[in-house]
């Protein structure tokens, strides 16, 4: 479970990146955070992973304050970034092995890796290939395999479909649905309204550091999510003028 309580981040240049975010993502829930560039989506993820310190409020992972006990909180979270380059000179096996050890899974066998790779649709013959020869979609799948191997109850994804072709993006969404079925809380920042409509349980829209709207699946299926999102974006453009 992920929780943000009045979570605020103001940078040294006084720019308010996140303004009192209150949010809770339950077990087995997929939450999509939408918003324009610079709206504060990645800042939220950075705060949950304790990459930056909040200037107010707190972020909790499974009830653990990430600022107070960052190492303990990281036991319960996996992360998939926008562009998982990984270590190009290493094979998929070496990458998986390294991150598995860091994730507290030091004794996995080849069969274990194969099983997790199959979960994300990676072929076994990719196991001994150098990652630098992989397409972005394949690298993203290796990134997801790393997250799955860690077996943390919460998964944070930062625009994982950016740059992926539609097929690869659809495969990724299916993997997230499978993970949700296993009871994982999934928090994903994206611009991809189409994917949000397909699989999200709830959707939030961020604007200038504020969470301006949250809709459940039932609500946004009734309303037109695209229109709502575009209306917010339009407002921003007009305000910007």
């Amino acid at each position: 479970m992920l929780q943000a309580i009045d979570l605020t981040k103001r940078y040294e240049d006084q720019q308010l990146a996140l303004d009192a975010l209150n949010l809770e993502i339950k077990e087995g829930e997929i939450f999509f955070l939408l918003g324009a560039n610079g709206a504060g989506k990645t800042t939220t993820i950075n705060l949950f992973l304790n990459f930056i310190e909040p200037t107010g409020g707190k972020a909790l992972i499974n009830g653990i304050d990430v600022t107070r006990d960052p190492l303990e909180s990281k036991k319960y979270v996996s992360y998939v970034s926008e562009n998982v380059m990984l270590y190009g000179n290493f094979t998929a096996r070496q990458n998986l092995d390294f991150f598995a050890k860091l994730g507290g899974k030091p004794n996995l066998t080849r069969e274990d890796y194969y099983m997790h790779m199959r979960e994300v649709g990676l072929q076994e013959d990719a196991f001994e290939k150098k990652v630098k020869t992989f397409s972005k979609g394949m690298r993203q799948k290796v990134g997801l395999t790393i997250a799955i191997i860690k077996d943390a109850p919460n998964i944070l994804l930062d625009e994982p479909t950016a740059g992926l072709d539609p097929k690869a993006a659809a495969e990724l969404m299916q993997i997230l649905v499978n993970l949700k079925r296993q009871g994982k809380s999934i928090f994903m920042c994206t611009h991809d309204i189409f994917r949000a409509k397909n699989i999200a349980d709830r959707v939030g829209i961020m604007k200038e550091g504020r969470l301006v709207m949250v809709r459940t699946r039932e609500e946004f299926m009734e309303d037109d999510l695209e229109k709502i999102y575009m209306d917010y974006m339009q407002e921003m453009v007009i305000e910007g003028r």
Binding site: F51, L71, S78, N83, Y87, F90, F99, L102, L156
Partner: protein
């Protein structure tokens, strides 16, 4: 956690193109420099053995004690194969005369057959290490943090139970680990070449020095790794970091030492040696006046005039070898030597005060340049390596001091054993064989010329040689490792402190590093 990161980084660096390129450069340059260094050492050993033989002949073929002006040689150290230091320029031989305390060493200084090649920089193993290791150090560390950030692996890594401190230590440890096999392979290659070279034999002390050299090379390398890491922790992108890293590398290795040498020369100026020689000439002028006084006084005392040697060879400062000369004149010479011998030594000491003042200026200048140029870590490596390889200035100064000390002992032996007052000092003839009259002297001389072959009229070896068995002999004592390193203590401490400081500020900087 740290160990996993160390292993990952070791493997990543070890298989990287830049490391492989650096490794191949080392594999080419190291054998080349060691091979040429070994050849140079073999030439020096050959010359040294010939010089020692000649120096020995000065004792074994001396017919009078006045003839003996010992020549001492510094044995070349096999470790100069690693680092030539000043051994190629400082001279390896010192002639010791009673009339002058030596300022500089002479002998064959450089091994180049073509002396015009002295203009060019001569690379040795340590020079290669100084350039290549530091360059590989910078190349492997300039993007130590920024590469992980740019690849997105930094966030992925830190999303696990890895603290920044663990990550930092793992990364730095990984790079340092990468260099261990490189250094070991380089030194093993050196050992292999030395092993197949018959003229090179290393002692236990040499092996300890080489081990210390390996350790210090690692410290030197660590400096550049920490420097690269610091730049990486302060730069936003890898390309910025690379440009800054290369600029600082060039500055530290080339610009700084050259500038500091120039600055040091101007800050600590030394007198012109021609001026010192002029002043020494004044002292010598005084000596010759004194000589005249003693000559006149001796003439008065003996009632003899200082002339009429039938067959004599002149060296310097009144030292002559006389033969077939009447006892009256021989006695005059004996008294003259007895009186002038200690005076010659006194005037040598007077001249030494001028030489010593000049030498102190040179030492001061050298020290000034040394400490200024030690702002560059490559210079520190070279100084410490030269000290370990017995090719630094301190070793040379120690040799010169030993030579001067030996000179003092040698000529004091003459004084204490009243050798200046003996006939053996200047004539190979026994006292009983010295002609009593002018006629007898002429007869002896004519007999000698008649019996001698024309080409060996002046070869008096058949008369016999003086006994030199009891004369003090020079034995060179090498500086111990501890003594050598204590000379470099200041710069060693500076290097260690710089490394600790760099790693500390890099750590502080990385803790605040923006990983977004």
């Amino acid at each position: 956690m740290i160990w996993h990161i160390v292993k990952k980084d070791f493997l990543e660096n070890f298989t990287s193109a830049r490391f492989v390129a650096g490794f191949l450069i080392c594999m080419f340059l190291v054998p080349y420099t060691v091979f040429t260094g070994t050849k140079g050492y073999e030439s020096r050993i050959d010359l040294y053995q010939r010089d020692v033989k000649k120096s020995e002949e000065i004792f074994s073929k001396a017919q009078v004690y006045a003839q003996i002006q010992p020549v001492v040689n510094i044995p070349p150290s096999p470790l100069t194969i690693f680092c030539k230091g000043i051994s190629d320029q400082s001279g390896s031989q010192v002639s010791l005369a009673n009339s002058e305390i030596p300022t500089f060493a002479g002998g064959v200084a450089t091994i180049h057959e073509n002396q015009f090649l002295n203009r060019f920089v001569s690379l040795d193993f340590i020079n290669i290490l100084a350039i290549v290791l530091s360059l590989i150090g910078v190349f492997l560390s300039y993007d130590i943090f920024s590469r992980e950030k740019e690849n997105g692996t930094l966030k992925l890594l830190l999303s696990n139970r890895v603290t920044r401190s663990d990550f930092f230590l793992g990364k730095v440890g990984g790079i340092l680990m990468t260099f261990v096999p490189l250094l070991l392979v380089c030194y093993m290659l050196v050992f292999l070449i030395l092993w197949i070279s018959p003229s090179v034999s290393l002692t236990g002390d040499d092996y300890i020095r080489i081990a210390l050299l390996i350790l210090f090379s690692l410290l030197y390398l660590a400096f550049f790794v920490f420097l690269g890491s610091y730049i990486s922790s302060k730069s936003r992108t890898s390309s910025t970091s690379l440009i800054i890293g290369l600029f600082i590398w060039c500055f530290l290795l080339f610009l700084l030492p050259a500038t500091m040498t120039y600055l040091g020369r101007n800050l600590a100026k030394s007198e012109n040696y021609s001026m010192v020689k002029l002043n020494m000439g004044d002292v010598e002028g005084e000596f010759w006046k004194k000589f005249e006084e003693i000559n006149k006084q001796t003439e008065k005392e003996t009632g003899t005039v200082n002339h009429n040697c039938m067959m004599c060879a002149d060296w310097n400062y009144g030292s002559v070898m006389m033969l077939f000369t009447p006892l009256e004149h021989m006695e005059f010479q004996r008294r003259m030597h007895e009186n002038i011998g200690p005076v010659v030594l006194d005037y040598a000491t007077k001249k030494w005060h001028l030489q010593e003042a000049y030498l102190n200026q040179l030492y001061h200048q050298q020290k000034m340049i040394k400490y200024l140029s030690c702002l560059s870590p490559s210079e520190i490596l070279k100084y410490v390596a030269a000290s370990l390889c017995r090719s630094d200035m301190e070793n040379h100064v120690d040799f010169m001091d030993q030579a001067r000390k030996y000179r003092e002992i040698f000529f004091n032996y003459y004084k204490e054993h009243k050798m200046y007052a003996s006939f053996d000092y200047f004539t190979p003839q026994k006292e009983s064989e010295i002609p009593r009259t002018q006629e007898e002297a002429v007869r002896q001389s004519e007999d000698w010329v008649r019996n001698a072959k024309p080409e060996s009229t002046f070869d008096f070896s058949s008369i016999g040689f003086v006994n030199t068995a009891n004369l003090p002999r020079f034995s060179y004592k090498e500086k111990s490792i501890v003594s050598g390193l204590s000379d470099q203590l200041w710069i060693l401490t500076a290097m260690v402190t710089a490394c600790i400081f760099l790693i500390w500020i890099t750590y502080r900087s990385f803790i605040k590093y923006d990983i977004r």
